[in-house]
Structures are given as structure tokens and as C-alpha cells.
Symmetry: C2
Subunit: 270 residues, 2 copies
């Protein structure tokens, strides 16, 4: 009999964690899950995540899989894990999947959301989930820059200095270098509840939600795209310059890495 | 020369505080403000809040006033206080007001927002700002109950056991007993960002925002109204029973006090 293979859909508030991946002496999401599963199953379990999120990055639809030595009812994973995990990590769904399914290698793509506000004063209840770029912001200029990044490009300009394989990126092992395909890139006003909007009106500014979907992402790629696009909105970079920036392939020419707290891993596609 | 009188509009994340009002040995919003203002002005300052929020309750538009011994530029209060206060308390605005203005006694009314979700699993990034009532919820049935509470009524059924003056309620000293006037009471779906909506779709359920505005509020009145209305939505109380409940004047007949984290003081009217 083939070993069972279980797929988990996981949401987390990354504030208190040093990212997804297990590390020595630092709290991570992966470790929390492996400890809880180990207690539940009575044997050590390795949880394979769809990718690695950085410290402070959140998730609404992270996917991971693991192979238990014996089968439990699927509902036991959701209820049982949620009763053992801290409330900043929640299992949204548990499904049985085919033996060959691997959360990382089977992924066809991912979608991220990047939240930021231009309010003069950061609304306190959003400070852990939204980046702060106070001041004037030109939404239309920023939108004009988006089409240049959509489609297949070499995203070296938006890749963190450091090793590519550290990104936990599903394309890294496939010999594509820094070539990735962005399938969706949109920027919308984000009226996150009346309350937040009121805080904004009293402190000026507005809030925005950048959606970035693609077949794979280099390390810090979404945060570097966000940081660069926000520079366009703030008038520090021309909207039409993004194509040149891609062609340069030079990380030093792109904008700063936007703060981790604004980033949420939204969905993983299979 | 009349002493200066400064009005502050304040937003806070109440998670880490034991409410608004200064207490011995417990962190409160009022104490944090008074400590920061004392450091800034070099003399002890009493900050008068528009009301007292309970432990864990948030604010987007709390109002307070204080009388400094000497005048500073108004911008210094906003920038200076925000540089000294922790990031979970933010000054949105500072204005000079007439000497007779008192944040509590001058208030004509307040508006609160109560956020809750019926998702099977609580989205982690909303857990500190939203109450959790998993399961079926009938929005239309709950809405049908709202008109019975609008207008002037004796709200004894929704008043916390304990002394009325503890509520910090602007009407308490005016001999109206438990009679208050609700001017607005609405219940809406709350699509708080795409991300949150996605978490919901994966875990079932939806999120809601109750808006309660009136000329004054008894202690726990908004949370008791929320708890009672949510019972209607869950089919545990008839929509048409709210009028009888008001007439009974018996706290024991109303629903439970809904959790503090779902409540946000939205605005104070003058």
C-alpha cells in the first residue's frame, strides 16, 4: 500500500515567526507544524511547504504536504492541528492527495498580495499587515507601469542578492535562470473595512493592494517589484522605465525591497 | 490668558492594553498618553478621554483633551507624541479647542463598529480585531431585528451588571437612567480585503460589520447588543423578540457580551 500523502492549506500571521522554514533556535511556521503533527501522529514528520516565506510575511493559502505512517480521518488533521497550534497558525483544509504530489515541486504558480498605505499616520490595527509609504501617490502612473512586467522576462533586476535556491522557488531547479512569467499584476484601492478607511480620512492618504501572480518567484522578487512600483507612484521613477530596468538585469537599479509585513502569500496553484 | 486646551484624535490597537483608563500597575492607553505628554511638556498632564474602552477594544477615532501649561505648535503634538508613543497608539490629529471643551462632557454621541466572522476557521491576521462565531448566520433575519432597537429606549437589558458611572458615559450624569437613543444601527457584509475574503472562502462563512451610533452608551451596551443580534443570526432568538427584550429591562434575558476584540470605537461626535 502506498503511503498516505496529505495536503494542508494553511493561513498564518507571520509577525511572531522567523519565516516558514525550520531554523535552529528560532520560531518558524514549519517547525510549529512539524511539532504539532509529531505530537498528533507519534512519529517525526517532515512538512514540505510550497515555498519559503520571509520573517514577518503572512499567508492566507500556503500549501504543504506530509506523509503520515498511518491514516487518520482528514478532519482530524484540521481540528486536531488547530487545537494544538497557536492561534496565529490555522489549518484551513486537509485533503488526501496522490503519492506523487509535492507542495513545492508540483506547484504551477503562486499569487501574492502586497498591502500598503499612503496615510500620513499608520492605522495601528494594520501596522503588522500593511507597509507604510506616507505622502502623495499617483495610482494611474503606477498602473501605467504594470504591463511592462507582465509576461515572461528575466527578473534578475528584481532578485535578491544571494543564492537562487534559497528562494524555495519551484522553477529554480529547472534551469530557467531568472526567467519567470508574471500572469497577473494589478493595483487596486483597498478599502479594508470602514474603520480603516476612517482612520485614513483622518490621517490623509489611501490604501492599496498589489496582486502579483506568476509561475515562480525569485527571492524577494515580489517585495522588490512592490518597492520599485511604489517609487513610480511617488514620482521617483518614470512609469515607462520598467522595461529598461528589466533589460539591465541589475538589482542595484531597482527600488528598495518593500517591508515584509505588507506581503501575504495568497494562493498556490497546482 | 485662558489656558490652552488641546483636542487629540487617537487610534489604537487595544490588544496589549487593559483598556483606556489609567490603572495601578496595568498598561492603559490613557497612561501611555499621559507619560508621553509629561515627557514632552515637562509637567504632569491629565488626559480626559471621551469614554473608557475595555481591555482589548480598539479605536479609530477616540477623542481626548488636555490643558498644557504653555502652548506648543499643534503639529508638535502629533509628530512629537507619535515619535514617543509605541506604534499601537497613534495621534491622528491635534487641534486647539475652546477652553470649555471636554472630550467626555461635550460629546453628543459616539459610533462603534463591531466586526465578526462566521468562518469555520478564524483567519489568523484578523484574530485580534474580529470576533469568531463559526457556523450558519442569517443576515436578513438579523437585519429584521435592528429597527426595534433604533430610537430612544431604556437599554437596561443591555447594560452590564455593575455601576453605571464606571461606563464613562456622557449621559450618565444627566439623570436619564438607562435611557439612550440609538441613531444608527446597520449590519453589512465586511469584505475586509481580498486576502481575508479568500481565507473565508477556503474556511467557509463570511464576515460582518455592525455599526452602532447613538447619543450615549451604557457599559458593555454595544457588545451586549452585538451578542444578542448574533444570537438572532444563529437562529437562537426570534428577530421580533428584541422589542420584548427591551421592555423586560432584564440583563439576564439578553445574549452574552460579545468579545472585546471585535469592538472598535469609530467616532465621537461633538
Amino acid at each position: 500500500m502506498a503511503a498516505a500523502n496529505v495536503k494542508l492549506t494553511i493561513a498564518y500571521d507571520g509577525t511572531a515567526y522567523d519565516g516558514w522554514q525550520r531554523q535552529r533556535d528560532r520560531p518558524t511556521i514549519q517547525e510549529s507544524l512539524e511539532v504539532a503533527l509529531g505530537r498528533m501522529l507519534g512519529h517525526r514528520v517532515v512538512v514540505h511547504g510550497a515555498g519559503r516565506t520571509d520573517a514577518g510575511v503572512h499567508a492566507l493559502g500556503m500549501v504543504a504536504n506530509f506523509q503520515p505512517e498511518r491514516s487518520l480521518p482528514l478532519e482530524a488533521y484540521r481540528r486536531g492541528l488547530n487545537s494544538m497550534l497557536p492561534p496565529d497558525i490555522r489549518i484551513l483544509a486537509a485533503e488526501e492527495v496522490e503519492p506523487g504530489f509535492h507542495a513545492r515541486f508540483s506547484a504551477r504558480g503562486k499569487a501574492y498580495l502586497y498591502f500598503f498605505t499612503t496615510a500620513a499616520v499608520m492605522p495601528p490595527c494594520r501596522r503588522l499587515y500593511c507597509a507604510h509609504f506616507p505622502g502623495a501617490f499617483d495610482l494611474e502612473a503606477t498602473r501605467a507601469a504594470l504591463p511592462q512586467l507582465i509576461g515572461e522576462h528575466d527578473f534578475s533586476s528584481f532578485e535578491a542578492a544571494g543564492s537562487r535556491t534559497r528562494a524555495g522557488d519551484e522553477k529554480a531547479e529547472r534551469g530557467r535562470g531568472a526567467v519567470r512569467c508574471l500572469t497577473r499584476l494589478t493595483l487596486e484601492r483597498d478599502e479594508t473595512g470602514w474603520g480603516f478607511a476612517v482612520g485614513q480620512s483622518q490621517a490623509g492618504g489611501a490604501s492599496y493592494r498589489l496582486l502579483v501572480a506568476g509561475d515562480g518567484f525569485l527571492r524577494h522578487m515580489v517585495r522588490n517589484i512592490a518597492g520599485t512600483l511604489i517609487e513610480v507612484g511617488r514620482g521617483r521613477r518614470r512609469p515607462e522605465s520598467l522595461g529598461e530596468l528589466l533589460a539591465l538585469g541589475d538589482r542595484a537599479q531597482a527600488g528598495p525591497t518593500a517591508p515584509a509585513c505588507g506581503l501575504t502569500l495568497w494562493q498556490v496553484y497546482y
